[in-house]
Symmetry: C2
Subunit: 318 residues, 2 copies
């Protein structure tokens, strides 16, 4: 087994951000949790997706109205600057999700990684946008990510920072195994993400407990299958009456949960993770160079949707 | 939600097959379990990997000695014919794993699907061979799949049989997300596999409980992520003193376990599975055509082992 390489890691779960909450008040909550993370000897903090506002894709409105109220035109901006300052002063890096409005007027569901000097060292724009673009009048709420955001153009960045290689994604991306493979094939040792996951599925009467169940099993299996640590931060609880799951976790490359939130409110969870545990899995069961067989994986890039079975004649194999 | 489409499904877990056990006696056990599956109204039975012999890759020997004793030169052969006959008479299809010696003298870790008329309709040769090819003298036992078997050349067949589309794999394949994607991209609704999983990891002191844990979370996450049912059959218990895990399961596309073995012996588990549950997941969260983004999955086929992070400059995304 490899020699221990420790990293103090924190996940800062957020309780609800209501429509009436101002960004400055939200950022104050983020700074408070940064201080707790620092006191618990963390060097990196993971915040949720769309951390600065309510999960606005649940509301029908024009794109212009959404941009005006919920998107960031620059980063850091005056409202968010106190978080950058506090993190730099504490010598802590962080991951933060927000709605990005670009110079060219494009809209993305975005996350950044900021290093311990306050520099933005990575930007990720969400690849797998769930939900719909049309107005579902009969639904109890909307899930308009396909209306308000363009599909991300960054791929899955993996960056070297804080003595590790860190990959990033957002929310629904975590359910797609391709997400994690794109990171582990770049040597990622730690994957970080934020999420806003409504408890109710508006598309079919999915039992509510499955939302937590599928969240946890996909993170656990993905951490194991990619020999990575995973840290996932929820925004959760009732935002103006609409419930989202908590379940923020730090998952080990063994697929075991090393830390998990126990509230649906602002809550910091931490673990002093040993990055070398991933090395052990990478050397043996998931020694990719020794075991992977891309010649049998071609359909993954050749097809978008599912198609017919490939022709198969068992008599050809005798 | 889609209209219910039921299939009576059985997994026939096997207890140990010792070195002294003859194939005819083993096949008798398989036939016994087939009868129980029939009595419980199953239409398809999943048997383990290398179901006809002990898990011989744990023993160091020459290839010739292994072929002589543990490989099948034809299928069905006289020893296995009683299973084919019993299944045909019962109108039941089955999946069976065995060591295959081909006409050209090649060796594969193979599984077949036999339809309810007794016809071999699919053959799969294992892609992801775990273990090693050298003699590890200091190890308590060997794991010589890389010595005794060639890497499979069939890809992942998906075939239409018994009113469903069925994909197949073997043992270690289940830990690789590419396996399941290769099936679901061909429209598989049910994935079947057998396995022999030693409780002890000879490569590093992995806690023994993790072998069951990672087995279950990967099957659960893979069923969910691919909107498939999965049926997995162990050969388990102490084979001549070497322990392998049980944990045979039928997993739903929700990632929930619908049936699980409770012994480490011959044991039939069944579920009357509703294939339409997969349709529901395929229509919504895992509507591949709507959500997948192969332009960001290229590394999966471009790289075998992990490499350096791709260049990333966050300032290019403004």
């Amino acid at each position: 087994m490899s020699q221990s390489r420790k990293l103090g890691l924190a996940v800062a779960q957020m309780g609800p951000v209501h429509l009436a909450d101002e960004r400055r008040a939200v950022v104050k909550r983020l700074v408070e949790m940064l201080k707790e993370a620092k006191a618990r000897n963390a060097k990196f903090v993971v915040y949720p997706e769309l951390a600065l506002t309510t999960f606005f894709p649940r509301y029908w409105m024009t794109e212009a109205a959404a941009v005006e109220r919920f998107f960031e035109k620059s980063m850091p901006n005056a409202d968010v600057e106190p978080l950058f300052t506090a993190a730099r002063e504490a010598g802590i890096g962080f991951y933060l999700g927000y709605a990005e409005y670009t110079r060219e007027g494009r809209c993305f569901n975005t996350a950044i990684i900021v290093d311990e000097t306050g520099k933005i060292v990575a930007k990720y724009r969400k690849t797998h946008l769930p939900g719909h673009a049309d107005h579902k009048i009969a639904a109890p709420f909307q899930h308009l990510e396909k209306k308000f955001f363009a599909v991300g153009d960054t791929g899955y960045p993996v960056i070297e920072t804080l003595g590790t290689k860190m990959g990033m994604c957002l929310c629904n991306d975590r359910r797609w195994p391709e997400t994690w493979r794109a990171m582990s094939l770049q040597g990622a040792e730690l994957g970080v993400l934020g999420y806003n996951t409504p408890s109710q599925n508006i598309h079919w009467p999915e039992p509510v407990h499955l939302r937590m169940h599928t969240h946890l099993i996909t993170l656990q299996a993905s951490a194991y299958q990619n020999a990575m640590w995973i840290a996932a931060a929820a925004k959760c609880g009732y935002e103006d009456g609409y419930h989202m799951i908590g379940g923020s976790v730090i998952v080990a490359p063994s697929g075991e949960i090393a830390a998990q939130s126990s509230t649906e409110d602002d809550e910091v969870i931490t673990a002093n993770i040993d990055l070398s545990l991933g090395d052990t899995f990478r050397e043996h069961v998931f020694n990719f160079a020794k075991h992977r067989r891309p010649e049998h994986y071609q359909l993954i890039v050749e097809r978008v949707g599912a198609g017919d079975p490939l022709p198969h004649d068992p008599d050809q194999f005798n």
